[in-house]
């Protein structure tokens, strides 16, 4: 019978009145969902509170935001011990009808997202007051976006993954456009929205195709189906779906050639928001990418690995080479962010537990680094974000040495100088690549790191090696107009100091973080419905 005829037949049957029917609802482990709830619900409460409270002390919303994210992170850490203890504890598990997983991997990314929100909130505090945009909206949107990211990292179902992606992205579109006085911000938000919605649509199309190929949207079921029958449905539908998914993810994590939005959006959006974009959104994006490709489609690795490797190479080279030509610091950091995404893609491409652990470490280390970097950029850019060229940094080493020194540490961390977290992050990824036999890919990655070094060194040169002072000929001509000293609000200083210290501590004792990243990974593979 045709579909329409059967539907018509069903409609024609008499309807029996229903008195009471026991609807079987799925079991929900509220403890597992707690970090998510602790991010989303207080965010909405904050929004309501902002319209009800008449007078709040300075920095109330930032404090609230930090507190909320901190609480969520604390609960996530408690959950970590529960979930990674395979003998006595609960172990990894899925809840809500196996649509949502709670395992070491998702908890790790949850904590990374919360830290990203904390750093961005601290930076946004002074920024919003300076720009006259003070209010709860930015913080509420950051928290909501983070909750979407948590969902994306914990998703065990493609529907949930998509929902998480949307909840992650839509607040960030709004946040990118939130600086009402800068038309660059509105344009950035507009561009980000159009391209982001476009990519989400691609992503969705991929989900539909994968669902069609495997008959389910549950990641565990998909994995099982593919293991039983690798050539399901002739393979073409699945591969096409995977390709579309890759396009969607590629946009989110700014892989070349889906990177075109990144420089414009990073340049136009308010700097604290860019800080969150570079740390939190990227983390959530890669979390989803690893879960879908490295775990679920692990059996099809020979199909998608060459493409991801190609993406990684393009991203590495494109990001570092294009960064060299930039004169605006925010655009430069955007392209450098693209090259870091290339490193992360190498970790994804090698499709091994070491690669996944390396990706986790890199996300955590990079999130801290870039948070601190954009804190400095926020401070130096000045009111209205006018001063974002390299010239704004010229001579900063002399005027405000501690700021310049902190910035230098972060820049060297991004370069990959040893004894910083960035070095070990790159080391982990390269090691995973070499262990997997991808020697040439590792060499390309290291070469792109060298090219990228030039970009960061240029900033260091501008800060410290001001050329108009020649010691042999006495004090040179005074620089035409000494720039105003950079205002450093207390919260921003705190964020910067914390990220610099964390970068150095992880650099000296990387074992602290590698152990955690390593413990998170085997747990991922154990999630099945």
């Amino acid at each position: 019978m045709s579909l329409l005829a059967s539907l018509a037949a069903q409609a024609a049957q008499p309807v029996t009145p229903v008195t009471s029917v026991l609807v079987e609802t799925p079991s929900v482990d509220w403890w597992g969902l707690l970090p998510l709830i602790l991010l989303a619900a207080p965010a909405m409460v904050l929004l309501h509170a902002s319209s009800l409270l008449r007078r709040v002390f300075r920095g109330f919303y930032a404090t609230a935001s930090v507190g909320i994210a901190g609480t969520a992170a604390a609960f996530a850490i408690v959950q970590w011990f529960r979930v990674t203890d395979l003998d006595g504890g609960r172990g990894p598990y899925t809840t809500v009808a196996s649509a949502y997983t709670v395992d070491g991997y998702s908890v790790f990314i949850t904590v990374v997202l919360c830290v990203a929100v904390i750093v961005s909130s601290l930076v946004a505090d002074g920024y919003l007051r300076r720009e006259g945009l003070d209010g709860a909206e930015t913080y509420a949107l950051l928290l909501l976006s983070a909750s979407g990211g948590v969902v994306m990292a914990s998703a065990n179902d493609l529907i949930v993954l998509f929902l998480g992606l949307e909840v992650l992205s839509i607040p960030v579109y709004v946040l990118a456009a939130s600086h009402l006085r800068r038309s660059a911000s509105q344009e950035a938000g507009f561009k980000y929205f159009i391209l982001g919605a476009f990519a989400s649509a691609f992503f969705l199309y991929g989900i539909a195709l994968v669902y069609g190929a495997t008959g389910s949207t549950n990641l565990g079921t998909i994995r099982q189906t593919l293991q039983d029958d690798p050539f399901v449905d002739g393979g073409a539908l699945l591969l096409a779906g995977a390709a579309f998914l890759l396009v969607g993810f590629g946009f989110k994590v700014a892989a070349v050639p889906f990177h075109a939005w990144t420089p414009d959006v990073y340049q136009g959006a308010p700097s604290p928001v860019v800080s969150y974009m570079a740390s939190g959104v990227k983390a959530a994006g890669f979390a989803g990418l690893v879960r879908v490709f490295d775990v679920t489609l692990a059996g099809q690795v020979r199909d998608w690995q060459p493409i991801v490797v190609g993406l990684a190479v393009l991203t590495l080279l494109g990001g570092s080479v294009l960064a060299v030509a930039q004169t605006d610091v925010k655009r430069m950091l955007a392209y450098s962010s693209i090259s870091h995404a290339g490193f992360l893609l190498v970790g994804v491409a090698v499709a091994s537990p070491e690669g996944a652990a390396a990706v986790l470490f890199y996300l955590a280390a990079y999130g801290l680094m870039i948070g601190g970097t954009f804190a400095v950029v926020t401070a130096v850019a000045g009111p209205g974000e006018q001063a974002t060229g390299i010239d704004a940094f010229r001579g900063l080493g002399r005027r405000q040495p501690m700021l310049a020194l902190g910035f230098t540490v972060l820049l060297f961390a991004q370069t990959g100088v040893p004894l910083t977290s960035g070095f070990f992050a790159k080391f982990g990824v390269i090691k995973a690549a070499v262990d997997g036999g991808w020697y040439w890919l590792a060499a390309v990655a290291m070469l792109s790191a060298v090219v990228g070094a030039f970009v960061y060194l240029r900033l260091v040169v501008a800060m410290f090696m001001v050329e108009d002072i020649d010691p042999h000929h006495g004090d040179g001509d005074v620089v035409a107009a000494t720039p105003a000293p950079v205002a450093m609000p207390a919260a921003l200083t705190l964020a910067l100091a914390a990220t610099v210290v964390a970068t150095l501590v992880v650099g000296f004792l990387p074992g602290l973080l590698t152990d955690l990243a390593g413990d998170a990974v085997p747990v991922v593979l154990a999630t099945l419905p």
Partner: protein, 545 residues
Amino acid sequence: MSMFLAAAETASTPFPHLLTLLVLVPAVGSAVVALISKQRPDVCRQAAFLFSATAGALAVYLLWNFDVADGGFQFVESTTWVRDFGIGWRLGVDGISLFLVVLSGLLFPFVILAITPEHDPKPYYAWLLLLQAGSLGVFVALDLFAFFVFFEIVLVPMYFLIGSWGHGNRTYAAMKFFLFTMFGSALMLVGILALVATAADAIGAGATFDIRELAQADLATNTARLIFCAFALAFAVKVPIFPLHTWLPDAHTEAPTAGSVILAGIMLKLGTYGFVRFGLYLFPEASRWAAPVFLTLGVVGILYGAVVATMQRDLKRLVAYSSVAHLGFIVLGTFAMNSQGVTGGIMQMVNHGLSTGALFLLVGMIYERRHTREIAELNGLQRSAPIMAAVFTVVMLSSIGLPGLNGFVGEFLILNGTFIANRWYAVIAAVGVILAALYLLWAYQRVFHGTPRSVENESFADLRLREGLAVGALLVPIVVLGVYPKPMIERIEPSVAVLLEHIEARTGVAPAEGPTAERSTVEELFGAGHGDDASHGANAGKVDK
């Protein structure tokens, strides 16, 4: 394998964490100096000297308690650093690294004392101390990861020293230095990881970065050769070997005096030490395979450096190119892969540090007085500065390799070793000795001899007391080592013998012997004891204590 560990166990360790302390003291000192207020430059200097000299004292203590007869690693310490990766904090010193450690320990306090920065003393001393910590770390690291960390970390302070306190084109020179060196090390990192990965398969145990264990791994020939090339590229940039040397003249010329002294004295040795410790030790077969290439490049470097130095108009650039030539000799000796060659190379590393460091010091003094390094503008300085001229003469002759000074001992050993291994390389290299005499004597004649042709040259100030003491401190070892090098050689030689035995065991090819297996004039000249140990194929005798 057992002989190394046995040597380590039997070596007395009166001071269990000496090497860790050695590396940490300057690093902590760097942080302390960074915290001192910049209003008190004298306090900065004193604190910096204190920390640096403490490290120097520890290095001297190390030298004093070094067991001469032991060819293995001494003062070994080993703790886990990153468990999952097999990375450990492993330090140890043997005859090959001992004198480089002492040089690093003593050259830095010397530089701090002798040279004052023109501006911003606080960060200057902080960077110098960090540089000392990094250099010491490179020479004592027994773990590939630790080595790489220290190898890379020295780039940062050097970059700042050149870029902030240097002359004219300093930003370009600093950037070029950093990017060139980082390019080399970038590929070395891939090589390190590849070595660890393939060795883990070969050994069977978990992955480890310990070079003592990695040296025992049996790698496939082509794999070993490829990985050796990755390492060799990094070291070749650092040494520097022609044609990767282009960063050196700019870096040396534009660096401040202290930077040049340290660069020549220690930084360049990181590359040559790397060749011995990691090239020869970890990849013996690949080293033997690549030896003709490096011997050739060494000879090319000697001749090229000498020829280009002859054409230089800038005195400092001339000395920089002479460095290229000298390091060509060291590379030559290293890849001769016999006792004389390698021992000579190691000794020459120290000698070059002393003599070229002194040369840069003197050129710095000339620049400070005359604000020019152009040879054409400097003439007849001997008239008004006879003492400086005399000191310059001694240092220059050491650089040329005049017998009686330290340069001769090293060069002779190297040429001897190279001649034994492959005759024609030594013949051509010997021409380089003549060329060295050519450009140095000619430069000296133009700068010091003759009548001064300008007022500034007439009133050129002679060595002040402090400067005299500084250069004198360098002159003493230059002369002493030239006349009595035995204490140095007798500590280097056993470790070199162990290394050569390791190479022989792994490749099955004995190091080249002299025309006769009996004592050569080398031993008679230097009074090395008897010790005709038949089990050692090397020619230089072992010294009994």
